[in-house]
């Protein structure tokens, strides 16, 4: 049994090296963001930012004269992503419950329609959705970003939650109904508490897709103070591209940093959530 252990060790070692290489692009972003402008383009590449500077962070966070501020964009992204999560989780759970647990005419039609809509590419509704949001007066507003984002993920949420609700044992519900609980009470007091893992998975999925969406906010927001992070970063790049990579990389690093922290803290949970939503989707 010696050989397999050596093999495993070599494998682990090789994978660790690969993992480090895998992270180098991110490391390079952070390293660049901390360098003096003159040092950034120096060859051979220097992997230790010395002397170190915070000037690029200062520039993208507080400079008033260029495009959008990254700090504000970050807050916008957070509001949009959390708002989307709230709407998606509530509407999907409410819709999935009767589709899984109640019998009523039209149930299969509704479900087929929702699942079929998963095939609709977002790009197809881009233009008419823009017209709609503009007519509602929702351009450059949070609701103009949150509601379409939520509508995009809703059908998937229903699909995911229905699968889960179908597998739940019915006894508790039946007991509650016999005790005179209304369907709403049954739903909120029994079904939802039992569904926490899958609700968390859906929340993670919705958060990520809203957080990362780029095309819709690119067209639906006309004011820099309302830009979410991806759009603000793209514009940061246009504004600085002929001068220095420093501020651009500082912006990129700022966009990655909180996720890095969240990810280190909740790695297991996030991966689990992705696994659940991925396999069922």
């Amino acid at each position: 049994m010696r050989r397999p252990r050596v093999q495993a060790l070599v494998l682990t070692l090789a994978l660790s090296v690969l993992a480090i290489v895998w992270l180098l692009p991110i490391v390079w972003v952070f390293v660049t963001s901390l360098k003096l402008t003159a040092d950034i383009v120096r060859l051979p590449p220097e992997w230790v930012p010395w002397p170190v500077t915070a000037e690029h962070y200062q520039e993208v966070l507080f400079s008033s004269s260029r495009t959008a501020r990254i700090g504000r964009a970050f807050a916008n992204s957070l509001v949009i992503a959390l708002g989307t999560v709230a709407i998606v989780v509530v509407t999907s759970a409410m819709a999935a419950y009767p589709l899984a647990r109640l019998r009523f005419p039209g149930r299969d039609v509704v479900f087929t329609l929702l699942v079929g809509s998963l095939m609709i590419p977002n790009a197809v509704v881009l233009v008419p959705q823009y017209v709609l949001v503009q007519r509602l007066g929702w351009l450059s507003t949070y609701q103009g970003l949150i509601v379409p984002e939520a509508a995009m993920t809703f059908a998937f949420g229903v699909f995911l939650l229905r699968q889960f609700f179908l597998t739940m044992p019915g006894e508790l519900e039946d007991a509650a109904l016999i005790d005179g609980a209304s369907p709403w009470q049954t739903f909120t007091r029994i079904v939802l508490p039992l569904s926490q893992p899958v609700l968390a998975a859906l929340a993670i999925f919705a958060f990520r897709s809203a957080w990362n969406d780029f095309l819709w906010p690119l067209i639906a927001v006309n004011r820099p103070e309302m830009f979410p992070l991806p759009v603000a970063l793209a514009l940061l790049r246009s504004a600085y591209s002929s001068e220095s990579y420093g501020p651009i990389m500082a912006g990129a690093a700022l966009s990655a940093l909180p996720l890095l922290v969240v990810f280190i803290v909740a790695n297991q949970r996030i991966v689990e959530g992705v696994r659940v939503s991925g396999l069922k989707g």
Binding site: V41, S64, S65, R66, T67, V131, L132, Q134, R135, L136, G137, W138, L139, S140, T141, Q143, I219, N222, R223, P224, L235, S238, A239, Y240, S241, S242, E243
Partner: protein, 420 residues
């Protein structure tokens, strides 16, 4: 799509009424002085100069200016969609070639000459081409501020190494295309390039390509503006030269190189680029000389692109804000010499041209000296769309993806197919 006559989905009407768009922060009734919103694309170092001038303006007049600043390429589509949605600014700074299509699409408010004259803006106070650029189909839509234009930058250190500096220590200026190529070949070796036109992504630099077209008497549209002129022999000659720059001549940097970095790093000898670069080059302490754009084809035309002040159509007229916007344009026009000195852009109005600080600066003097050769884009609402079509085509020529002739003929077809 503010008005949609064909059909209205009534079930949305309720939602529309309930929806509250967050509007620009409006000044409260208690506030006596107006706040105006002002959009511009001054995302470079010139933005900081503008900030300083605006701070002074607010101190002197009490009028607050809220700037919205986006890179030009992003600013224009935003302006186009914001104005019909009632989200447009009180004042915008735009390039001359944007005037026709914004005017045509009803984005800009027409300015009647009486109003302009009443505020002290008169044609004889301006260089004629810049003043003319503010009009479309006989109506005025904007007032010129300054004249960004091309300039030939010569890197003294690089030229010296190639033996192209005279006894007086001044770098030699090429007199024509052949001489430019010969000189550039002397400079080019390894990762040092002899000549470039454009800042970042020289392969896609339409403004440089336009400059060469105009020098050869060609243009994007034929003079009657009815069809594309890019497949005519004079234009094809320019396209062939463009292809040579990207490849066979072996003198220019690759399509997505950053020419400004290269020039600063001493890896580029002769560089045709915008006048907005020179203050930055001075700050970076590059030893450079500036010369007029050389005559590479038939005429010594210099590409220029005056910035224009325009008033986007508001949702509802607000006299107070419009007056405040006028006050701002007036104030900046009166202080344009400061703008010229710090941002490096010569003014469109003549008054500042006699300022000794301006005439005493060799680069600004060179820029003003080019005035007789200035040319701008054609006054058609399709100009900008045609320019967007041109960008990838000239890049495919520059990178050798497509032969010049076939690419330009294809471009002509695309331009002719643009909708009215």
């Amino acid at each position: 799509m503010a008005q949609r006559p064909v059909s209205r989905r009534t079930f949305l009407a309720g939602a529309a009424a309930a929806a509250t768009a967050t509007a620009w922060p409006r000044p409260g009734a208690a506030q006596s002085k107006a706040t105006i919103t002002y959009w511009n694309g001054l995302t470079g170092a010139d933005g900081k100069v503008m900030d300083e001038l605006i701070e002074r303006f607010t101190r002197e007049t009490g009028i607050r200016v809220e700037q919205q600043r986006l890179p030009w390429a992003d600013l224009y589509p935003k302006l186009q969609v914001s104005v019909p949605a009632g989200e447009g600014p009180d004042l915008a700074l735009i390039h001359t070639v944007e005037v026709p299509h914004f005017a045509n699409d009803g984005v800009l408010e027409a300015i009647d000459e009486a109003t302009a004259t009443g505020k002290g803006f008169r044609g004889d106070g301006y260089l004629p081409a810049t003043w003319q650029g503010g009009t479309f189909q006989g109506k005025r839509y904007s007032l010129p501020l300054d004249v960004p234009q091309h300039l030939l930058y010569l890197n003294v250190k690089v030229m010296k190494e190639a033996g192209l500096v005279g006894a007086d220590g001044k770098p030699k200026v090429p007199a024509g295309r052949d001489e430019l190529v010969t000189m550039a070949k002397k400079i080019a070796r390894g990762d040092t390039f002899g000549f470039a036109i454009g800042t970042s992504n020289p392969g896609r630099y339409t403004w440089g390509f336009h400059n060469l077209l105009w020098q050869n008497g060609a243009n994007i549209y034929t003079p009657d503006l009815k069809r594309a002129g890019v497949s005519e022999p004079a234009a094809l000659e320019v396209a062939e030269f463009w292809a040579g720059l990207g490849g066979p001549l072996g003198i220019a940097p690759p399509a997505n190189a950053n020419c400004r970095d290269a020039f600063i790093a001493g890896r580029l000898g002769m560089w045709i680029a915008g006048s907005w670069n020179f203050t930055g080059l001075r700050e970076a302490k590059v030893d450079f000389a500036a010369a007029p754009v050389p005559r590479l084809f038939k005429q010594p035309v210099v590409w220029s692109m005056p910035h224009q002040y325009a008033f986007p159509k508001p949702k509802s007229a607000d006299r107070n804000r419009r007056e405040a916007a006028w006050t701002h344009v007036r104030w900046l026009t009166d202080h344009v010499a400061e703008w010229t000195l710090k941002a490096g852009q010569v003014s469109a109005s003549r008054k500042a041209h006699g300022d000794p600080r301006v005439t005493g600066d060799p680069v600004l003097k060179t820029l003003l000296g080019q005035a007789p050769n200035w040319q701008v884009g054609q006054p058609t609402p399709k100009w900008v769309a045609a320019e967007n079509l041109t960008r990838p085509v000239i890049e495919s020529i520059y990178t050798g993806q497509k032969p010049a002739k076939a690419a330009m003929e294809d471009l002509a077809r695309q331009i002719n197919a643009l909708p009215d």
